[in-house]
């Protein structure tokens, strides 16, 4: 395919030869890493668990990077443009407490029971039924999500760079397929760490230069206030305050109150995602020992707290500084409007384009290539995360459990390599399916969310309460999932139902997600407890190494304070509280 044909004239940014050189170098490097690591992925432990020999730093940065995809970066930059600094909650209360909880409370159980996956833990704790449902739903959803992300990224590449969608999908997915099939999880982790540095190198200039242009944080706040007042936006001061506008649903642009943020996001959605989604947990399971496994999420949390600097701040800078060529305020609009033929004819830009717009504002040739490489790397790294998690769950929890119980280690590795290829092909198929019917994207994303919140209730009760029975865990998970689906369908059929589900007619999509997650997790917990009391528990001998009180957890007494996970967890917690006070 001729490269010139892939670049159209009506794009957001134009790449120079030095930009292309940077992008091509990145592709060559990741393929080289995959080839180099091929020789170190010969056993099941090597291929699926990276040999369980990653240091805390490598596992921690990979843990964070698996979630730091380019859609995440552009999507949350867009959300901060739309909702203001409230979007930072997804990086602070929506991540930090859960990461610390995973590190200090849950990690010992995952690590000591030597499970290969979260469904694997469910099998040990609740039996093969819970494992089968969890693994099949996870595998199915992961590969679909991978395809959806692939398509969404290709659309962005078309809008930003003018790249052909098919070209973007094929070149990036085949690269991911090659390096994951060759090096397994270790290869995915190496590239995630590489991506972490690329993202910071490519994106950190935006807030630095943006704050210089805006006149610092106080200048930025003043400009946002002035611009939003000029546009008659209600309560413009709310865009730069994280907590003080959460007393009521109507005082903030998201239509949410503190209950939804603290309990829906902080206590349920983020706990569910960061502690039970195998995509991220798999990175920590690769740590070489328990102390590293506990430190890894804490290291991830420390950097997660700083991600708003390169994601949320550019969105706010966009609100303050972006102007059209005539010098008028540039108002971004929802993506469907911006990317419609009418929107394109008027030159409109979507919320999600705020990060590329800011990149194009400050970054000339070379820096622009680095920024684009960071976005491409983020996408590929996110896809590699999905594919490697899918491969592990398929091989251990479906193939070796349901199809071929006597599979040898060699067979599992061979299966892993083939499933990587198949997973990528299915993802590509999904991407093209979504291209034909984009409404599928909303449904699959909603479907994915149905499993996460109740799964947290099931896993945490299983870990902390020995009285939880297999029947209780199973019915609780089912009830939580069905109630989540029920609430979603209810609001779809009757939009007025949002006043019951999210407690307010003002609730936007994000607010509805928070409350739906909160209710379905509560339902899961209540059903699990009730059914557990009505059914016979497992004998304690079968719960050893799986449940609190029956698992001997090694103490950190022999390590110095500066090597103690508890110490660093406390430091991160204090920093988290200080940030909330500063941006109150």
């Amino acid at each position: 395919m001729n490269l010139a044909l892939l670049l159209s004239s009506s794009t957001l940014v134009h790449l120079s030869p030095v930009d292309l050189a940077i992008i091509i170098f990145y592709f060559a490097l990741v393929l080289g890493i995959g080839l180099y690591l091929k020789g170190q992925a010969n056993t099941g432990e090597d291929f699926f668990m990276a040999g369980r020999e990653m240091t805390a730093w490598v596992a921690g940065l990979a843990f964070l990077s698996a979630n730091l995809g380019s859609l995440e970066l552009m999507g949350w930059a867009g959300n901060s443009y739309k909702y203001g600094i409230l979007a930072a909650h997804w990086y602070w209360i929506g991540a930090i407490p859960a990461m610390l909880f995973l590190a200090l409370v849950m990690m010992p159980f995952y690590h000591i029971c030597k499970t290969h996956s979260v469904p694997g833990y469910l099998k040990l704790r609740y039996g093969p039924g819970a494992q089968a449902i969890s693994s099949i739903s996870f595998a199915f959803m992961t590969v679909l999500m991978s395809g959806i992300n692939m398509y969404a990224m290709a659309v962005v590449m078309r809008v930003v760079l003018g790249w052909n969608i098919t070209f973007s999908i094929l070149i990036s997915s085949i690269t991911v397929m090659i390096y994951v099939a060759l090096g397994g999880l270790r290869s995915a982790i190496f590239n995630e760490v590489l991506q972490f540095f690329l993202i910071w190198a490519g994106a950190l200039l935006i807030p630095i230069l943006g704050l210089i242009e805006a006149g610092g944080w106080s200048g930025l706040k003043a400009k946002i206030l002035q611009n939003l007042t000029e546009q008659h936006v209600a309560n413009p001061g709310a865009y730069t305050h994280a907590w003080s506008t959460l007393g009521t649903f109507t005082d903030n642009p998201m239509g949410i109150n503190w209950v939804g943020i603290v309990f829906g996001l902080g206590a349920v959605i983020s706990m569910g995602y960061w502690t039970t989604d195998f995509l991220v947990v798999q990175r920590v399971l690769s740590a070489k020992d328990l102390r590293s496994a506990k430190l890894a999420p804490i290291i991830g949390a420390a950097f997660k707290m700083m991600v708003p600097l390169i994601v949320i701040l550019p969105g706010l800078l966009g609100l303050a500084l972006l102007r059209d060529p005539q010098g008028q305020l540039l108002r971004l609009v929802p993506a469907d409007l911006a990317w419609s033929p009418a929107g394109q004819a008027q030159g409109l830009h979507g919320y999600d384009e705020v990060l590329p717009l800011m990149l194009a504002r400050y970054c000339g040739p070379g820096l622009l290539g680095l920024g684009i490489t960071a976005l491409v790397a983020g996408f590929m790294s996110g896809m590699a995360g999905n594919v490697s998690a899918f491969t592990t769950v398929w091989t251990y929890d479906i193939y070796a459990t349901l199809i071929n119980k006597n599979a040898s280690d060699e067979t599992k590795v061979r299966m892993g390599r083939w499933v990587t290829v198949i997973g990528v092909i299915i993802s590509i198929g999904t991407a093209f399916l979504v291209m034909q019917a984009q409404s599928i994207m909303d449904y699959v994303q909603a479907l994915f969310s149905f499993f996460i919140a109740p799964l947290f209730g099931t896993v945490i009760l299983g870990m902390l309460w020995k009285r939880t029975t297999p029947a209780g865990g199973w019915t609780g998970l089912l009830a939580g999932t069905l109630s989540s689906v029920g609430m979603y369908v209810w609001v779809k059929l009757d939009p007025g139902a949002v006043r019951y589900v999210a407690l307010s007619m003002e609730a936007q999509d994000q607010a509805q997600n928070m409350f739906r997650a909160l209710w379905c997790c509560l339902i899961c917990v209540i059903v699990t407890v009730v059914v557990s009391y009505l059914t016979k528990p497992k004998p304690e001998s079968e719960l050893k190494d799986l449940v609190y009180g029956l698992t001997p957890i090694p103490k950190d007494d022999h390590v110095s304070m500066f090597h103690s996970p508890v110490f660093w967890g406390a430091i991160v917690a204090v920093a988290f509280v200080i940030l909330q006070i500063i941006f109150w």
Partner: protein
């Protein structure tokens, strides 16, 4: 760190930052000598020179500190 044989992940990170830094720095010098017609906002700060230079220095430090020779020596010492 036993996470990649004789080539550490940090070596790849250094290589990546170093090469990108060198390209950006060189382009920055070129632009300073031959200013482009279309300039980015805050062009006068020459971000590509100092940011590219910073990445180049960090990349070189990482590449040397975690070079294959040093990694082999570290692995040999552990055994």
């Amino acid at each position: 760190m036993k996470s990649g044989g004789s080539l550490s992940i940090w070596f790849f990170v250094g290589l990546c930052l170093g090469v990108n830094g060198a390209l950006i720095f060189a382009r920055g010098i070129y632009e300073a000598m031959y200013p482009p017609a279309e300039k980015v906002v805050l062009y006068a700060l020459h971000a590509n020179i100092w940011w590219g230079g910073f990445l180049l220095v960090v990349g070189v430090i990482y590449s040397l500190k975690f070079s294959p020779a040093r990694e082999r020596a570290r692995n040999a010492a552990k055994q």
